[in-house]
Symmetry: D2
Subunit: 439 residues, 4 copies
């Protein structure tokens, strides 16, 4: 098989002074930060769909990209050509992981049988490519939203046969993920939502989705899959409203179906902002609820109301995000997956490298800045001090449920309390963060 990215060699760390566009200037995989290597912290993954499947189309125009692996021919040989290109890319980029949807890997063909067959054959091939390159699978997933059959949803479809078709894909994709040693299995409910309430039974669709998720978890245990099951929240697009709106919404759903210990969230920056939250908020919320699983690293455009999936390029934003992740204990099975695509105008093959290299260096810088924040964790100190009052007798009793509303009111009145506001010191804290970032 011919090299596709012949002009680009292995991307290596060359340090900040390097003028080589195809080198890392900050990401040094083996450099130890807070007791782990950068590679172990970041667990970087390239996304099959964004980089190898998307043709550069948008709603107002067709594909712009002319990729060597965009070929006609029989499904398997086309798929293998794409896989060869993909693994060449993963290897040259020096990332330890990749991620895929079943239908990214190979055409689903024209029948359910053909789908099973094609995907099984390509799972073999991926296994072989993994073995050859050492690249591992961060997560697999099934695309149960693109095919017209899913226009009205997958698990939440009004037609139970569509539910069954989706179940079949997820069954196969979980199997493949397990066999390929995937660290997680992801579910993105792209069309689990509605276009109009006028034809939608929210309660019924929730029950369908809840049962579906339980089936997934039951199957995981039966399969002996040790990875994490992840739901990826998004508020809308392509649907008017998606049920997995944000982390807090997913949490309520998980509680309802007894799944809050079984399923975690895969948070995407651009989905967070579409839901009206900062990326940091979504991460901190998931950490506080004990459901942070993994991250889809990208960014949206602050002025555009759709998922732009741009490569992350803000060290400032990523430092705060990484700080929250590290404070939450860091990744276990999760990692940073680049759910990012080059712009439609970035039509050269080398743009694929430049997009990833820039983003990896941003994450590396963010990791180093966040590590500094934690090594001398002034924010945590100030936070502890701020809430110190709750460590007193009264605070403890309240939180322990030993005080009734009336008890508290009587205590307050009899003591004639008159608490005053104290400064929240936001500007001071922001200055501290900038100092960590800019030295």
């Amino acid at each position: 098989m011919a090299e596709v990215f012949a002009n680009v060699g292995k991307v290596r760390f060359e340090g900040p002074q390097s003028d080589n566009l195809f080198a890392f200037r900050h990401y040094n995989p083996d450099e130890v930060v807070l007791g782990k290597t950068m590679a172990e912290h970041l667990r970087l993954a390239v996304c099959y769909w964004h980089t190898f499947c998307w043709p550069g189309s948008d709603v107002f125009g067709p594909g712009v990209f002319e990729r060597p692996w965009f070929k006609s021919g029989d499904a398997i040989s086309v798929a293998k050509g794409k896989a060869d290109a993909a693994f060449e890319f993963f290897s040259k980029l020096s990332v330890p992981f990749y991620t895929f949807h079943d239908c990214d890997v190979v055409s689903e063909g024209h029948s359910i049988g053909e789908y099973v067959e094609n995907f099984a054959r390509m799972t073999d091939y991926l296994e072989q490519k993994q073995a050859e390159t050492g690249v591992k699978l961060l997560w697999g997933t099934a695309n149960v939203f693109s095919n017209p059959r899913y226009a009205a949803g997958a698990a939440t479809n009004p037609n139970p046969e569509v539910f069954a078709y989706a179940a079949t894909q997820v069954f196969n994709a979980m199997g493949a993920t397990h066999r390929l040693g995937g660290a997680n299995y992801v579910l993105w409910g792209g069309r689990e939502g509605y276009e109009t309430l006028l034809n939608t039974d929210l309660k019924r669709e929730r029950a369908q989705l809840g049962r579906f998720m339980q089936m997934v978890v039951e199957h995981k245990h039966k399969l002996g899959f040790k990875g994490t099951i992840l739901i990826e929240p998004k508020p809308q697009e392509p649907t008017k409203h998606q049920y997995d709106y944000d982390s807090a919404t997913v949490y309520g759903f998980l509680k309802d179906f007894g799944l809050e210990k079984e399923i975690k969230v895969n948070i995407e920056a651009n989905h967070a902002t579409l839901a009206g939250h900062s990326f940091q908020h979504e991460i901190a919320t998931a950490v506080s609820l004990g459901i942070l699983g993994s991250i889809d690293a990208n960014r949206g455009d602050p002025q555009n109301g759709w998922d732009t999936d741009q490569f992350p390029n803000s060290v400032e934003e990523m430092t705060l995000a990484t700080y929250e992740i590290l404070k939450g204990g860091g990744f276990t099975t999760g990692g940073f997956n680049f759910d990012s695509k080059v712009r439609r105008q970035s039509s050269d093959l080398e743009d694929l490298f430049l997009g990833h290299i820039g983003a990896i260096d941003v994450l590396a810088l963010a990791l180093k800045r966040a590590a500094k924040m934690i090594e001398k964790d002034t924010l945590a100190e100030l936070k502890d001090k701020r809430y110190a009052g709750w460590n007193g007798e009264f605070g403890k009793q309240v939180l322990a449920g030993q005080q009734s509303l009336e008890d508290v009111a009587q205590w307050a009145i009899s003591n004639n309390i008159a608490p005053k506001h104290v400064s929240g010191r936001q500007e001071h804290l922001e200055n501290i963060v900038n100092r960590y970032i800019y030295g």
Copy 2:
């Protein structure tokens, strides 16, 4: 006591042909719709704060309104003057209910003792005014967000004394609400949220808020209060982020603290839209989760990113909202409270009447349209038909948990299923709705 609104008499139903600006043209309280009077369906309430306390100020300018009841003097006599004006207004407007915050009713004074004393004296007076006029209390609440002591939150404050102060106010406001025969008690966590994550411990603040809500529920039972405890979701403003973001978020919180059967939501239209949802969505979601309690009827401005609290004026929007409420069984303890204020430029006393009268007629029209939708419920029929497949054997088994993921996949493959998308008929359904609205 002198009449304040001397130019306006009792507002009565005069029918669509009336040219009287101070008459209802659609709201006929005693007219029976779907087996109940319009008054029983709508359970209309005027809000003390919006109509009697807000001076017409905004962030860029002070109050514009010169109300006869804006006086200086001792707290109780000022408060009585305001109450007299308010009950004159409620009575003339022919609404059965009103709502209040503790601090709307009377100044909180300069100490916790003074607060208790002032509020107790005015509770007596409100009781007397209710008896005289027959106007009832839809809900009471405590303002635990305006006073500087609450700048960093009430129950979620870093200082437990502030928590205690809030508890004292809620204790007193619940007592007053109970004594005044209130149908509900509301909690709006206006500053239960954060300005910056840099100084905020989400997990700790959630625990504080959870315990606070449990205390409120425990106290309700101890008190023998039969009304409903309501949380009012809002995503932000004044905070950057409020914990009670939307109904789905509140549901997750309630489940976490075992309160999902004890607390319902008071949904406000403008809060729904600030959270990125339609008003109809928030209602339908709350209904589907079994937590719809009451409604704050208003509207936002679709182009402005803050809470404008305008009087509802869209029959189209309110018809869909009312349809969802009626489909959910209608109000039990809840009602439509006008959490609406006249514009800052609407500085005349009579604007207060015109705002309410127009909005009441909008709700009356919406009720009649929604009732027609339900009398011959084409939407429900089409919805049932759409999901009919789930009533088959396979669908039932899936939902009953009798099918594993593998079972379903094997069934799908062996039957070589190939389900097709069928039309969701959104445009047809929208035409139906318009037909109900426009005849």
Copy 3:
């Protein structure tokens, strides 16, 4: 040629009581309103692209629609089949107008010569179809944004050859529009904008666009085309930022290039809302600037940040829009073009009819309501009264430029003026509007 919509006959006015889904219940083309027929007022047009070209794809999935006219074969016979279906639809729907992009009508082929040839042949065919059916062209336009060559813009492209290609298309599309008796020619600068300022020279691109527009206007006069040249504002999508952001921005651009008397705007409801304006605002602004040309009738989703192009279904919104249009003198060459598409899930052929029929009835209702508003124009009376002070001597002098800042200040001080705010009566005005709409 075979009938494509065999199940649907000519759509006729049957009045509000009709149960026929394929009848108008409010749109009675020959009914006279304010001295003109409804058909003359509304000048309804169906859009070729939305209804005959879009396959039901979105960013997350391919086409869902299986249209009889989606065929493979030689470009001209495919295009004729589509035109036959389209004109059958236009005729059955009883709309007087249609609109097209050059590339909607026929494939642009594989070279500039083929483009010219294909389009010329289909222009002949359209001419023949127009003659046969009596359907007329509201406007034509050229698609200079979809083809990959336009990825970085058309007139604003960094490559002047792309500018030339776009000029060629516009030249041909203007010629075709002129020959087909089109009432207007439209320019939508879909990719005249930028993805990133980092590679964009705003000043240079503005100069390119300005010269392009001048060339279009010069050519119009040379051609003897009597229709109106229209620019369609949109703020973004597919670009991050589009230069024709909104009406006010377009106005500044036109002034800069001396085109404000030559070019008007084609306002689209959904583009208005994406730009942060109400639809009514954009119309009123264009009217006040003397540049209102035509309307793309649709609606967006208030919760979604992209162009959803839904059929208009709000009589409330459309009444205010129509009121502004009528107050501005009504359409001359413009009309209401349905820049609206059925939802991706609305996959049946008949959904195409239902979408249009519902929307046409909405516009008919809006026209009737707006006409009532104008027949007894209470809003205008109150507005005149509100500004009456400016008709006094002082006001006239100020506006006539006869008072300097100092004059005015001296007059104010010496008269010790102390003007007071008077009520803006917004709620009263909103009640009046609802009374016009709901009787």
Copy 4:
């Protein structure tokens, strides 16, 4: 007069290693960057209103701040106390400039005469304070939006007496600004807009505003004021819609009234984002139109839909903004004014210093990064290369108006042109920027 900020001394540059919270770590006023000192480049100003007038109130609560200069007493002595505190602050902060509204400086009293008198007396005092401290005035302005008389606008008010009152204030504020050696005079049309179109005559109000601006410009020349007249765009808030929406809108307005060479814009970051633009966009747009005047440096909250006026803290955002300013030639009369306020919770006096110090260091860092970008201006080189085709014969002829649409089309067809898209290299450019910022 007593020192108010007794705990804080003169803030000095101590370099990045300093642990002193009250030192600059990056802003070294005398350091030369691109041929000018940092002080000369940045022209920093503190804003009277935000720092000395705002009491820490918001829509949901009263002031939190207990400032030593918030006193009762006669207007002049209170105003002098505030001015003393302000100039102590300016001096200690080492900024060369301040800015004010007339009514920030002193109460407007109870009559127009009192306003004139109070303001005149305080202008004397400010002149004395300037002389004593060396602090200069970047700009003055008049508050013609807070007083209830301006509820319906100032120049656009339906009442010409209100116009006259506003004219009086602007006359006086221009006079004071001139006398105090102000470098600019600013107009922010806070309520020049509308709440509802139902009571608004857009055309008439535009004429009023246009004439007002002409009067201001005429007066400037009469006065001999050499500074720049600036309009500050904002899209909304407090109004539903403000006429000076954004730079492009202001430009169209200026062209309409022949003022485009007389008036420039004062761009505020948070106003840009409320208008749906990036801060960089607004600056680049104003530069490209030749109307960039000055900057109100602050930031909004990306998730909140109102003007939060936070201190700028993003070096990334400010670097791009500063790059555009420098590319546009840098400030002449303008500067960076901190239109920023500490958070309501930041209630300590020292928070005022910390907010400014952090922001000044952010601007200093941004200046240094932007200077590096310009010293070796890779972006400009790549941009020149990208548009190089336009320097050819054909491109020049087109822009010079020597080619008609038909000429171009014929040339394109006869040459059978087939231009291809080339990569826009966005990711590469973003990597370059990050390299400038992060080394």
